[in-house]
């Protein structure tokens, strides 16, 4: 087993293209996860019992089944039902929906952590539910949500190789295709790991900074 720079040179452009797809999938997927997650969280807290119950179990269903199975379903089964998604679209929907179940818990926890007195105070001020959310609850609950949401972004980034199962040529799949026809695994897979590190280590550091920044004032040292 010997490290070959010629292989590195041959595979790098393919990996760079794959990295772009990986990053696109991460960000589009994360955007979906944040938006759908917020919707799901609000539904879960709905006063209408049936809505709350259905959305709770919907979230549990998505969270308790493997992402890989969900991707296969989106890619191979939905077309039989007349819904045809391209590999990339199926991939980001899979990622987005799967992680929205997680982010919804972040939103819910954030909102429920606002002390009860604040809700009562809003009512005392005769705020309607929009005003309560907009001016009292959300300004207090969003900052502590940001660090965990940023962490889910990093997790999603690391889950993108699963999209290779539905023929999306992201970073890992680009390396795998090269490896399969050139019988070289050492260099491509090392580089894939390296690329992931190059992106995820600074992002993790950034998320840590966010966490420090948004720590409640009372807990700051």
């Amino acid at each position: 087993m010997e490290w070959s720079w010629t292989v590195v040179e041959a595979v790098l452009p393919k990996l760079a293209q794959g990295l772009i797809v990986t990053i696109q999938a991460t960000f589009v997927g994360a955007f979906l996860a944040y938006v759908l997650g917020l919707g799901l969280a609000l539904l879960k807290m709905s006063k209408i019992k049936v809505v709350a119950w259905i959305s709770y179990w919907l979230g549990e269903f998505v969270r308790r089944t493997p992402l890989l199975v969900q991707l296969y379903f989106l890619f191979y089964v939905l077309p039989d039902l007349g819904i045809f998604l391209s590999p990339f679209v199926a991939g980001v929907i899979g990622l987005g929906v799967h992680f929205s179940a997680y982010t919804s818990e972040v939103y819910r926890a954030g909102i429920e952590n606002v002390p009860k007195g604040q809700w009562e105070a809003s009512r005392a001020l005769n705020y309607n539910s929009y005003q309560t959310m907009r001016f009292v609850i959300l300004p207090q609950s969003i900052p502590p949500m940001i660090p965990p949401l940023a962490n889910y972004l990093i997790t999603m980034f690391k889950e993108t190789p699963l999209l290779s199962a539905i023929t999306v040529i992201e970073l890992f799949n680009a390396a795998n295709i090269y490896s399969n026809s050139h019988y070289k695994y050492l260099e491509p897979m090392t580089l894939v790991g390296l690329f992931f590190l190059i992106v995820s280590v600074p992002s993790a550091y950034f998320a840590m900074r966010l966490e420090k920044h948004f720590k409640p004032k009372s807990m700051r040292g």
């Binding site: 191979y76 045809f84 590999p87 023929t167 295709i177 490896s179 026809s181 019988y183």
Partner: protein, 283 residues
């Protein structure tokens, strides 16, 4: 304090790496003797009937493993254990000794012969395409795909068909590799690709199983050589390979060989007409 911990961790990692590296890279001595002692050989198969077929209970059959089983019996190894490996990963699996041999209709190709050694050919067959009924893009050869950049095809990553396509003017963007052959047919049915390319008998078998009247078989594909496969070995196992060849020859001469492969649809005549040296002289 922090930097010290980091240094400690690094030293630990390097030490662990050295231990692991030390434990790899011995073995080879007498592979055949080792297999006789343990009573079985681990073989790589691709699970692509009729070349190789892993049954629900793990029993490996199909033309290539059945030939290998008969040969290995002659050599005193009674059992085969299958490991499903994608075509593209078979050579690394052999080189890393994750498997003792690959018996799955791995075509004998000069580029592969640089890395591994083959037995004499055991299975030969034509190539095929599957397309939508009526062949709307009129695809009969790989050149036809290359000429029409709107047409896309699927095949397995690292298999002979991918190389055929690239050598005949198909651009890499037109090839969407499948994860396994049935998924490839599914991609064709759903219109994700226009052409499915694989070995003739393999494609035929899949179409029979899918039994979809909207699909059509194009066989043989003109302009590509007949693919001939052999059992594949780690290049250090030359003695093992030579013993295998000897036993395979006995099998062919006794007529038992024909009895094994013909029920699967392979032609004994085509296989006996070629030698390994026709593809990879001196391998």
């Amino acid at each position: 304090m922090r930097s010290l911990n980091l240094r400690k961790a690094l030293v630990g990692m390097v030490a662990a790496g050295a231990v692991i590296a030390g434990s790899i890279g011995s073995a080879s001595a007498d592979t055949l003797q080792k297999l006789r002692d343990q009573g079985y050989a681990t073989v790589a198969v691709a699970n692509e009937p009729p070349y190789s077929d892993v049954k629900g209970d793990g029993y490996v059959t199909g033309a290539a493993p059945d030939v290998a089983r008969a040969v290995m019996k002659k050599l005193g190894v009674p059992e085969l254990k299958a490991q499903v490996v994608a075509y593209g990963s078979m050579i690394p699996a052999l080189l890393a000794r994750r498997v003792d041999m690959a018996t799955s209709g791995l075509y004998i190709k000069p580029k592969r012969c640089e890395s591994i050694i083959y037995s004499e050919p055991d299975l030969c067959g034509a190539e095929a395409f599957a397309v939508m009924k009526g062949n709307p893009h009129n695809i009969l050869t790989y050149e036809d795909i290359g000429k029409n950049p709107d047409v896309t095809m699927t095949t397995c990553a690292g298999c002979a068909e991918e190389a055929y396509a690239l050598e005949r003017g198909v651009s890499a963007e037109q090839i969407k590799v499948f994860t396994d052959p049935p998924s490839g047919i599914k991609m064709l049915q759903q219109g994700r690709v226009d052409v499915f390319a694989l070995s003739g008998l393999g494609t035929q078998d899949l179409l029979r199983k899918f039994n979809d009247p909207n699909l059509e078989l194009i066989m043989p594909v003109k302009g590509v050589p007949m693919g001939c496969a052999g059992a594949a070995f780690n290049p250090e196992d030359k003695d093992f390979r030579d013993a295998y060849d000897q036993a395979l020859k006995e099998l062919k001469d006794s007529g038992e060989f024909a009895k094994i492969i013909e029920p699967y649809g392979f032609s004994t005549e085509a296989t006996l007409a070629v030698k390994r040296d026709d593809f990879c002289p001196g391998n």
